[in-house]
Amino acid sequence: MPALRILVCVKRVPAPGAQITLTADGRAIDTRNLAFTTSPHEECAVEEAIRLVEGHGGDITVLTVGPPEAEEQLRFSISVGAQHAILVTNDRVADGADPDPQATARAITGAVRALEAEAGPFDLLLFGNESADSGGFQVGVRVARALGRPIVNGIKAIDISDAVLTARRECDDGFEVYRLGLPAVIGVKEGINLPRYPTLPGRLRSKKAEVQTIIAEPPGGGLTMVRFETPAVEVTETVLLGTGAGAAGAVVDLFYELGLA
């Protein structure tokens, strides 16, 4: 089995805590007190790429469409085991605009074509099942279609042998199995693995790693964000059933009251 060349697309997203706060104009999340992270499904996609390369040999490129700050997420991927990092950006994105899904897909497709012309084809492109913030459920599918490669979403297990990729998708009573020839594209779901933490040598490597920048200004698509709104929080009168073990009686009373015991 020849070595695998894998590309993973990750998105930089804020990590809000208990409540999302918006900017005054309602057009963005107020990120002043927030940390940023990689969408969880994509973190697992990076880990899956590392495991595949550990098994088969090869190398991993991580790519993001985002502002220059998204280098933080690219370097994190390098610190856990990716080799190459690509930042796809332009002035609007650098200002914090989140491109619509069609524009994002066009930017990624263009970058993949350029990278493949330079260094040869990727065997596998990994996406998250959906981005954590916008949850469009489509960028991977659009890229796969544009490149003419097969794609399945929602994947919780990947196995590759003899250039055939076997993938499992969780359903109500178990798993569905899909088989794809390489090159292929997969939308990964959290739970496929437990991502590792960076090691100290990994952190050092990531600090020194070169991030290649590609400027892309693809035309926008037809879905245009106007404004955000946080859903109204229902005010609940919390009934305190007690403190400590002494509350057990009141809890069991509640079970009977609700007809559940």
Binding site: A18, H41, V141, I151, D173, T224, E229, T238, G249, A261
Partner: protein, 320 residues
């Protein structure tokens, strides 16, 4: 007469998922004047679908089991043939996947998890972001609007819609080359399971406060006594204390039990969106100010390691 709305029927080898009715209800609510044409892809005989004005049965040998790319091709071809005013599905895994394919082929926008839609040029929509914890108002400029409706927003109650037997079925045979279904279900792995997280009447869920894999023993004992399923937070799956299949929240499962018991879970927004549909919430937490406590219907303040075993004991005592 307005052009019809095509509604993709989410079925698995002929068994129609309950959620599919939500897309039919969504279409009637947003486009009250448009006839609703249900689209059943695959199978020899279409399953009965009530709530539609017409049924398109899309038949082809390549379509005998779920095949996301070929389903997308077939639905796109049908749309090209009948010029619908919109294509709609419920935002299930398959619904979103097939619509993404249609949108990619047509190079049209696709809005996933829509809550409200008003036709026009452009269409105005409201959709769920962040798994439902943020609402986005957006415009859709498209020849053919493609929308999935967010789960559990439109009730599948279609009291005024025509009954299945009154609806005519038309056939559509797409042009699919051999191998068009190169991505399709080729096998299934059944995992025997009793009560599932998404159907259990009670869910007993644990978070970081449980502290360890072994710490879940008391939670399991309580779940067993209540005929409940065990759930958990993302911290728990990240620690490897429970499998990811048990995770509730934005990147886990959506549950809607009669009672959700949250033990040692703080109530971060990404967890809350997974269980906000629960009828009642009981929080057990050392922190009276934790969001899970202030948003819950009932709370017990204190150490779950004392409280949960005491509840188990009390329940056993009363049943003895």
């Amino acid at each position: 007469m307005t052009d019809p709305v095509l509604v993709l029927i989410d079925h698995d080898r002929g068994t129609v998922g309950d959620e599919t009715r939500q897309a039919l209800a969504f279409s009637r609510a947003c486009l009250p004047h448009a006839p609703v044409a249900a689209v059943v892809i695959g199978g020899a005989v279409p399953p009965t679908v009530s709530g539609a004005d017409a049924i398109w049965h899309v038949r082809h040998v390549e379509l005998d089991d779920y095949a996301p790319e070929a389903w997308g091709d077939a639905l796109h071809q049908l749309a090209a043939a009948v010029s619908p005013s919109a294509i709609v599905a419920t935002g299930t895994e398959r619904g979103n996947e097939v619509l993404a394919h249609v949108a990619a082929i047509a190079d049209e926008p696709f809005a996933a998890n829509v809550l409200l839609a008003t036709p026009g040029s452009p269409w105005r929509i409201r959709r769920a972001r962040w798994g439902g914890s943020l609402l986005e108002d957006a415009t859709v400029s498209a020849q053919l609007p493609i929308l999935s409706c967010a789960l559990h927003v439109y009730s599948g109650d279609l009291a005024n819609a025509p009954a299945a037997r009154e609806v005519s079925v038309a056939e559509f045979v797409p042009t699919l080359g051999p191998g068009a279904a190169r991505t399709r279900v080729v096998d299934r792995v059944q995992i025997a399971e009793g009560i599932t997280l998404t159907t259990a009447p009670v869910v007993v869920s644990g978070g970081r406060g449980v502290g360890s894999e072994e710490g879940f023993a008391a939670i399991e004992a309580l779940a067993e006594l209540l005929g409940a399923a065990v759930g958990c937070s993302r911290v728990v799956t990240n620690q490897g204390w429970r499998p990811h299949a048990d995770q509730v929240g934005q990147t886990g499962k959506r549950v809607a039990p009669d009672l959700y018991i949250a033990c040692g879970i703080s109530g971060a927004i990404q967890h809350w969106v997974g269980m906000q549909a629960a009828k009642h919430v009981l929080a057990i937490n050392t922190d009276p100010n934790a969001p899970m406590v202030t948003k819950a219907d009932y709370a017990v303040i204190g150490d779950l390691h004392e409280i949960v075993p005491a509840i188990v004991e009390e329940l056993r005592r009363r049943r003895a």
